[in-house]
């Protein structure tokens, strides 16, 4: 096996098969998602008050009522009880047997006006369930197909002029998928890039570097490290994806909005042609930082400097979302460090012209190649520099290096 692959495998193994990677690298994001989703469901379920609702009907609409369709999980059904007069309903309310009661006056069908009486704030779920109950009864003599259409409402699909992209009003969250995947990619890039930088600094600190470079060439070493680092990042993302896909598949039938989730081909193209070279670029930058600094803490400060432009598009979300094809958006899409997040943010909102994807990708690839060269040079000059930071001008200065 080529020594490059030994280095790559060593780096991969060293970071992936550790407790820290399993706890922080792998489980952190799924756990955060799980906790967030759990909290949402908890809040929703706490929001549901299943104490019955009452009604007093003077309009005759609810003489022979039909039931409303069962609410979707995690909502729980709220029973609806008829009362002959308002006094009985009020007594039941005061006794706590019902949480509110509705009064439908005789002219309800002509005015659409009704009255609700409650002692405590009426939550949205019982209110919506009562309106569904009313709708079901208003439409009970209508053709079921039409009734169903009226109840479910219209689905507005915004389509791009070339017909390649659709965004449905019901699947609006698909807009967020590229942004979320971009953010996940960047988190993975920086966390694994951090491992790479730390590994290089550690090799300098514990003097392993001197032993290693008498066995492999600096080019093999740096290439092996970058391959190992990217493999760690990809493993991390694949496992995150598995953690996300499993609950989606598990709850697909019970949670309607999950059925509409889809990742468009443009997103996949961006992940492959923009995010991947961006990953290589960041890894090479991390290796260069590791070779330049003398201790890990110093490296962290430098990482802050390169992470700032990466997150700039996130800070400009409002501008980018309101006008995803503005010159600013295009400019940020072409600048290597802002391109990854900008492109994915725009992906959810607009059709990206092919030339922009191609140009952004080409710039990123060229920058990544140049950064690998730069990292290699910094590595060769700085690999045995102990206790003293390498200056940028030393990297560019004309000198014979290993």
């Amino acid at each position: 096996m080529n020594k490059l692959w030994h280095v790559a495998w060593h780096e991969y193994r060293r970071h992936v098969f550790t407790r820290r990677f399993v706890l922080v690298g792998l489980l952190s994001v799924p756990l955060v998602i799980l906790v967030l989703v759990g909290l949402i469901f908890l809040i929703l379920s706490l929001d549901v008050n299943t104490t019955p609702l009452g009604y007093v009907d003077f309009s005759g609409l609810l003489d022979n009522p039909v039931s409303a369709p069962a609410p979707l999980w995690p909502d729980k059904p709220v029973p609806v009880l008829p009362f002959a007069n308002e006094a009985d309903a009020r007594a039941a309310l005061d006794a706590g047997r019902i949480q509110a009661y509705y009064v439908l006056p005789a002219d309800y069908l002509s005015t659409g006006q009704l009255r609700v009486v409650h002692l405590d704030q009426l939550k949205s779920s019982p209110r919506v369930q009562f309106y569904d109950f009313l709708s079901a009864n208003l439409l009970k003599n209508t053709d079921p197909v039409i009734a169903n259409r009226l109840v479910k409402g219209a689905e507005i699909i915004v389509q791009s002029p070339d017909g390649t992209r659709n965004i449905s009003s019901k699947n609006w969250f698909n807009v967020l998928i590229p942004i979320v995947s971009g953010i996940a990619f960047i988190i993975a890039m920086f966390s694994t890039g951090g491992y790479l930088m730390q590994a290089v600094v550690e090799e300098k600190e514990n003097r392993t570097m001197e032993v290693i470079i008498t066995s492999v060439s600096p080019n093999q070493l740096i290439a092996g490290k970058i391959i190992g680092d990217i493999s760690v990042g990809l493993s991390q993302m694949i496992l995150w994806l598995v953690f996300i896909i499993i609950p989606i598949l598990a709850f697909r039938n019970s949670v309607t909005f999950l059925q509409g989730i889809q990742i468009g081909p443009q997103t996949l193209v961006l992940l492959g042609f923009v995010m991947f070279p961006a990953f290589v670029l960041v890894s090479a930058m991390m290796a260069a930082i590791g070779a330049t600094v003398s201790e890990a803490r110093e490296g962290q400060q430098m990482v802050g400097i390169i992470s700032l432009p990466i997150w700039v598009p996130y800070m400009l979300t409002t501008l980018l979302m309101s006008n995803p094809n503005s010159p600013l958006a295009v400019g940020l899409s072409l600048f290597p460090l802002t391109a990854p997040l900008t492109m994915l943010m725009r992906d959810g909102l607009t059709i990206l012209p092919a030339w922009q994807i191609a140009l952004s990708s080409a710039i990123l690839v060229l920058t990544a190649v140049a950064t690998i060269w730069l990292a290699g040079r910094a590595f060769r000059i700085g690999m045995l520099r102990y206790g003293k930071r390498l200056k940028l001008r030393e990297i560019f200065a004309r000198q014979k290096v290993y």
Partner: protein, 300 residues
């Protein structure tokens, strides 16, 4: 053809000339000493030799020509600053370092098992390197250097941090490798160790070669500056003697420059001193080292 041929190499770091026109060669199968005080340029010379640094001038021939990637597998290098991965188990660390020297996993396993046994480290192979004592880590570093059975062994201060028992073990190991025909460059400032092990040396100070050649010849070159005399008579002063030093029943007479031992012998006989012993002192490498480094005498 020498195993290592260093010819007029120079290397500077900014304004500091770390190595200045250094030349020496190491014959195949030789146990060669590279000496010098701290900061003399020894490690820089080794790094130039190993192609870690490019020299500004001069050339390096190693194992029959310039250094290349394939030759790295034939060289074992133990730097002065020990370097092992601290957060992984010892056996995994050795396996990785062995694999970078072209060994397959079976070879690494077999060879490291034998060395670990020999160095009493077998019980610690699953421990993380950082959990081992400094001496154990030092021994592990020796194993990592020898694992691939190098033809050329370059060891920088191999006895640093070792207790006498382990110092002897490493010394025996170096002699064993020497007997097997391995070329060894021993870089050290521990003169007595070099004196005991090496046939030829080069002494570098301030980046320049101060001494180079066979140890025996160098000692001869430096002999004659003192004589050892055993006598029952009292010697207080003698012409041509700068200092008289009593040592264990003998007297060491330090001669002034330009005085030959024969002059002293003639003076002693002329004074009717009863001589039981008269011997031209052969200086130790320590003494030569101090004289060269303090006096900056160049004898090459």
């Amino acid at each position: 053809m020498p195993a290592v041929d260093i010819s007029h190499i120079s290397k500077s770091f900014g304004p500091v000339k770390a190595v200045d026109d250094v030349s020496f060669s190491v014959e195949k199968g030789e146990l060669f000493g590279l000496l010098g005080p701290n900061g003399a340029g020894k490690t820089t010379s080794l790094r130039v030799m190993l192609d870690i640094f490019k020299p500004e001038a001069g050339s390096v021939g190693i194992l029959g020509g310039p250094m290349n990637e394939a030759k790295k597998d034939r060289i074992g290098y133990m730097p002065e600053e020990r370097g092992l991965y601290q957060d992984i188990p010892l056996d995994r660390c050795l396996a990785y370092l062995g694999s970078l020297k072209g060994l397959n996993p079976v070879e690494v396993k077999q060879r490291s098992a034998a060395y670990l046994e020999r160095f009493d480290l077998a019980a610690y192979k699953s421990k993380k390197v950082k959990e081992l004592s400094k001496g154990m880590q030092q021994k592990a570093q020796v194993i990592a250097t020898l694992l691939h059975q190098p033809e050329l062994l370059i060891v920088d201060e191999p006895f640093g941090g070792l207790d006498p028992v382990n110092t002897q073990t490493v010394k025996d190991l170096l002699l064993e490798q020497h007997r097997k025909g391995v070329t060894i460059i021993l870089c050290s400032h521990q003169m007595h160790q070099v004196e005991e092990l090496c046939d030829r040396i080069v002494l570098i100070d301030h980046g320049k070669v101060m001494l180079y050649g066979a140890l025996h010849d160098i000692r001869h070159q430096f002999s004659g500056h003192s004589v050892t005399v055993r006598t029952g008579d009292l010697i207080t002063t003698l012409p041509g003697v700068e200092r008289i030093e009593p040592i264990n029943g003998t007297v060491k007479l330090h001669l002034s420059p330009g005085t030959a031992p024969q002059d002293i012998l003639r003076a002693l006989v002329a004074r009717n001193i009863n001589l039981e012993q008269f011997e031209i002192s052969m200086p130790t490498l320590d003494e030569i080292f101090i004289r060269v480094v303090q006096g900056r005498e160049v004898v090459a």
